[in-house]
C-alpha cells in the first residue's frame, strides 16, 4: 500500500472525501479539488490515501494533479492574490502590477509570504478584460488598477479591513 505510513486520521479523512465525491476513476479531478478545498493545497499523505481508497496508483493521481495548474503542493497563505496576465491586462500594464505586489509583499510570483498571509499567483485570464488590468484577491476582483491602487488594497488586507 502506498500510504502504509498514513495515520488513522488521514485514512478516515480520505474515506470521507471519497464517500462525498465518489470513487469512479473519472472522479480523480473532483477528488483532488475537494482535498484542495479542505487544505488549500494537496498534502502528500491525503493524496496517497485517497489514491489507495479508489484503487488508482498514486503515480497516476499525481500525474493528473501536476498536469492542471489549479493544484498546489505547498500550503497557501490566508489570502490568494491572482494577477491576471490576459492579453488585455498585459497591454495595460499587468507586469507593473506584479512587480508592485512583489515589492509590497517581498514575495516572488508563485510564492507565499513568510507570515503566511498572502500567496501570489498569476492566472492566464480572469475574463474581466474590459476592466484591465485586473487582480483577484480571494473571490473579489479589482479592476482598472495602478500599482499605487493595488498597494493600497493590499495594505487594507494587511490591516484586516477586508
Amino acid at each position: 500500500m502506498a500510504c502504509r505510513d498514513c495515520s488513522d486520521a488521514v485514512l478516515e479523512e480520505a474515506q470521507d472525501i471519497v464517500n462525498k465525491v465518489g470513487s469512479e476513476p473519472e472522479k480523480v479531478i473532483p477528488l483532488l479539488q475537494e482535498i484542495q478545498n479542505r487544505h488549500s493545497y494537496l498534502p502528500d499523505d491525503i493524496v496517497e490515501a485517497v489514491a489507495d481508497v479508489i484503487k488508482v496508483p498514486a503515480a497516476d493521481v499525481y500525474g493528473v494533479a501536476t498536469f492542471y495548474s489549479q493544484f498546489r503542493f505547498t500550503p497557501m497563505g490566508e489570502h490568494l492574490i491572482r494577477v491576471c496576465k490576459g492579453t488585455a491586462c498585459h497591454v495595460s500594464g499587468a507586469d507593473l502590477l506584479t512587480s508592485a505586489i512583489c515589492d509590497e509583499l517581498n514575495v516572488e510570483e508563485g510564492g507565499t509570504t513568510e507570515d503566511m498571509l498572502f500567496s501570489l499567483e498569476t492566472v492566464a485570464c480572469l475574463g474581466c478584460c474590459s476592466l484591465a488590468p485586473v487582480v483577484m484577491i480571494d473571490n473579489k476582483v479589482y479592476g482598472k488598477l495602478t500599482s499605487g491602487k493595488v498597494r493600497k488594497i493590499i495594505k487594507g488586507y494587511k490591516d484586516g479591513k477586508h
Binding site: V28, Q33, Y68, F71
Partner: protein, 584 residues
Amino acid sequence: MENTRVFVGLGSCGIAAGAQDIYDYMEPELKAGNMDLEVTSCVGMCYAEPIVEIEYEGDRRRYGYVNKKFADELLESIKTGIFPDKNLIALSDDGKKYLDRQVKIVLKNCGVINPESIDEYLEADGYKALEKCVKEYKPEEVVSIVKESGLKGRGGAGFPTGLKWSFLAAAKGDYKYLVCNADEGDPGAFMDRSVLEGDPHKVIEGMLIAAYATGAKEGVIYCRAEYPLAIKRLNIAIKAGEEKNFIGDNILGSDFSFHLHVKEGAGAFVCGEETALMASIEGKRGMPRLRPPFPANSGIKKSPTNINNVETYGNVPFIILNGAESFNKYSFKNSYGTKVFALAGKIKRGGLIEVPMGLTIREIVTEIGGGTSTGRPVKAVQMGGPAGGCIPERLFDTPIDYDSINETGAIMGSGGMVVMDDSTCMVDVARYFLSFTQNESCGKCTFCRIGTKRMLEILTRITDGKGEMEDLDKLEELAGHISKTSLCGLGQLAPNPVLTTIKYFREEYEAHIKDRKCPAGVCKSLITIQIIPDVCTGCTLCARVCPVGAISGEKKQIHEIDPETCTRCGLCIETCNFNAIEVV
C-alpha cells in the same frame, strides 16, 4: 412607486466595477419602500459599469457609471418621479453608436432578465423552442433546420454545426454524450462567461435541442474553474430545469430523456481541444489524441460524443423558434448569423458585442468601440487569442467572416478582440502569446513542446536587444515545423501570433535587431527612463516609490534616474503627477 423595479447588473465584471456595493447600498431603502430590487447580468456595456436600470410606470431607464452619490440621486428620483437625464447610457450618443450596429441573438436576454430565475426566462419565450422540437419535429427535421441555418461552430474552428449533429445522430451506440465546451481559455476573451452568467437557460435549452436531435442521453458542461459565478448560475438553472421537467426523464411528457451536469475544469488551456477535454472529463491528464476516431464515433468512455461551444448552443433556440431564414438572412460569403466579440484592450468603449457577419473590423473598432481609450492612434487588433494573429490597421476594412479573417493570417477564434495602440510593442505581444502557448503545451508533440520553447528563446533574445537578422528566418522555419507536426490546434496555430507580426510589423522586428530600439517603448532592455528637467518639480514622489532606489534628488530640486540601477519597471512614470518622466 410599488410598481417600480430596480435592476443591478451583477456579472463578474460588473461586480468588479463595484455593482455589488451599489446593490448592497440601495437594498435597504428599496426594500423599505416595498420595491423590487433585482439581479441581472452583463448587458455588454462594460465600459459604463456599474449599471442600474429603473423600471418606472412602464418606462425602463438604463443608467451607467453609478456610484453611491448617483445612487442617492436615483433613489430620490424614484420618490419624486423626476429622473435625471445624465448617464442614460442607452440613449446617449456614445451608447447609440455602441448599440445601433448590433444584432442580439445569443445576447438578447443578457443583462435583461434575472439569470437565476427560470420564470423570467420562460417569459422571454424560454424553452418554447424545445417544446416545438419535442411536439412538432422529428429529430432529423431538427438537424435539417440547423444545417439550413448555416450555423458554424463558434468556438473557433467554424465546423458546420448541423453536419456535426448528423454524425452523432448516425453514430452506432446506445449511450451518447453531449458536451458543452465552456473551457474558455483564450486570454482576452470573455464571451462564454458572460453568456453563462447572463442567460444560462438559453445554453441549456440549446443542448436539450441538440440532445433531442442526436439521441444523446447525458450532457456535460465543462466549465473553467476560474468562472465561479457561471458555475453557480448553471447549477441553479439545471436544478430549476429539472423541477419543471425540461431536464430529466420523459421531458414534457414525451419519451425523450436527458440528464445534465456541470464539470469543473482544473486549469489547462489545452482542454479546450475536444479530445483533451474528453480525457479531462474521464479524469485523466488533458492531452489530445489523434483523430480519427472522431468523437462522434468514439468519445467519452468510447461512446459517441458531440462537442459544441457555449455560443453555438446559444444560437440554437432562436433558429428553431424563428426558422433557419431568420438566422441566415444575416450572411456574408460563407458565414451566417451573428458573432459575439469581447472588445477589450486599449478601446474607448470596451465590452461584449454581437454583430452580424460582414461588418468590418473598422466599423467595430471605430464606430462601436469609439477608437482607442488613450487617444493615441490604433495600431492593430489581435483576434483569436494565442492561436490567432494581429491584424494591422491598414487591413481594418476586412469584413468579419471566417474566410476573410483567415486570409489575414489571424482566425475568427472564439471572439476575443484586443485593440492595441502605438504604445504596444508587437514583438513583445508575439513573445507574450508564445510564452502562453509554450507554458500551456501539454508536451505530447515534440515540436510543440520544444519548438515553441526555442521560438520563445529567440523572441526573448530579440526583445533583449541581442537578436540577429537570421533569427527571423529561424522563427519562420520553426513555425512551419511546429504547425505541420502538432496533433492539435494549440500547436498547429501557436506560431500564428509570431508569423502575423513578422508579416505586418517586420519593421518593428528590424528596429529591435538592427537599431537596438523598441519603437513602442516597451522592451525594457532597449529603453531608458529619464526625467525631463524642465517639467520636474522636485516633489520627491518618484524617488519614494522607486523599488530599487535609482532616483535621487533633493526636495524642490530636479531629480535624476541612475540608468545603471534603474530596472525600467515604470512605477515612477505611473506615479508622477506632472508627466515629467519619459521613455526614450
